[in-house]
């Protein structure tokens, strides 16, 4: 996913925002079912790869769509692609990067 903001955030701030978006919408019980994990975070390109269980992917996508702030700064999170493997995701991210220049 990409972080859409004028600011650059650290991985910790980013994950705090993702967790709080999920907890805000689904509560701690819902958040515990996602098995959310940060796989990669590129601060410069504002790109992140997170891992969640397949069953919880739509829950997480919904929560991410409603996220509005990271570290108290206005930001939005856009999912670029979803895949079962990192290899396939890397391909898609390359494709996305070449398209968006």
């Amino acid at each position: 996913m990409i972080v859409d903001s004028t600011e650059a955030f650290g991985a910790e701030g980013f994950m705090d925002a993702v967790w709080s978006a999920i907890i805000r919408l689904y509560g701690e019980h819902g958040a515990s079912q996602t098995w959310l994990n940060l796989m990669r975070y590129d601060k410069e390109r504002k790109l992140a790869i997170i891992r969640v269980t397949n069953d919880a992917s739509s829950m997480v996508r919904t929560a991410l769509a409603l996220a509005t702030r990271i570290c108290d700064k206005p930001a939005s999170l856009h999912v670029v692609s979803a895949s079962g493997t990192l290899k396939a995701l890397d391909k898609k991210i390359k494709q996305y990067s070449s398209q968006s220049g």
């Binding site: 859409d4 903001s5 919408l25 739509s58 996508r61 919904t62 991410l64 769509a65 409603l66 509005t68 206005p74 930001a75 939005s76 856009h78 999912v79």
Partner: protein, 244 residues
């Protein structure tokens, strides 16, 4: 077939062309093909043309929209008579029950929008849905209040939206989900908007229709009606002249 993704509610100040162009540019980046920009009811032809040409530069189709906030049904009828042929989309922000009933049964109204903070002011019930269903009026849901509201206000809003979408589905009232955005940060991709509607109980196919088929259908229908060759539904002028 590729879906035409639409956002029918961009709330920019049209007198600030740069801001409007930025919003439209963002919509294009996010994957929208068509947006509707809200104009004040007293906007002149020149302002409409300026905004449209700024949007064409961005490479996205733009429709004109006006939001009416009448206090009485008579005021609504008067506004509709005056504005219907000037704008492609007419949305009524329903502040009272009388106005919302009149708006729902009037074929000239495209969208019904209800206040997101005043929960007693959301009049989309069974009777309203039945009237809207007969007159092809759609229920509009804005995303921005969902993004900005907090705690119990968001909970109440979600409950209201869940009830209203369920009623709309039962009565075949089309639902249109728009951003209602006045700044770029409040805009989301069409797929994100569609997936966010799952929290008020819309299934995936219907959710995608709310950002594509339903709004695109309204624009198509209204553009046909506003075309100079339109006479009545199914009847249009093909050729003018003495030899016809």
């Amino acid at each position: 077939m590729r879906r035409v993704c639409c956002d029918l509610h961009l709330r920019s100040n049209i007198r600030e062309l740069e801001q409007t162009a930025n919003l439209v540019r963002k919509a294009a980046d996010l994957g929208y093909h068509l947006v509707a920009v809200t104009f004040p009811s007293d906007a002149c032809e020149r302002e409409t043309r300026q905004v449209k040409s700024a949007c064409i530069e961005v490479g996205i189709d733009v429709a004109t929209r006006v939001d009416l906030q009448p206090n009485t049904p008579n005021e609504l009828i008067r506004d509709l008579r005056k504005l219907r042929r000037r704008f492609e989309i007419i949305c009524v922000l329903c502040r009272s029950k009388n106005v919302s009933r009149q708006a729902a049964k009037d074929r000239r109204v495209d969208l019904l929008n209800f206040p997101s903070t005043d929960f007693r002011g959301r009049f989309f019930d069974l009777a309203e849905a039945e009237l809207a269903s007969n007159s092809l009026t759609s229920l509009e849901i804005d995303m921005e209040p969902l993004l900005t509201s907090e705690t119990w206000k968001r909970i109440r809003l979600l409950s209201s939206l869940r009830r209203e979408t369920s009623i709309a589905e039962d009565y075949d009232v089309p639902i249109v989900v728009s951003s209602g955005a006045s700044d770029e940060r409040s805009m989301r991709k069409p797929t994100e908007v569609a997936i966010a509607t799952s929290i008020f109980g819309l299934e995936k196919r219907l959710a995608l229709d709310t950002v594509s088929k339903n709004p695109a259908g309204i624009i198509k229908r209204n553009r046909e009606k506003l075309d100079s060759s339109f006479v009545a539904p199914g009847i249009r002028v093909l050729r003018r002249g003495k030899n016809c």
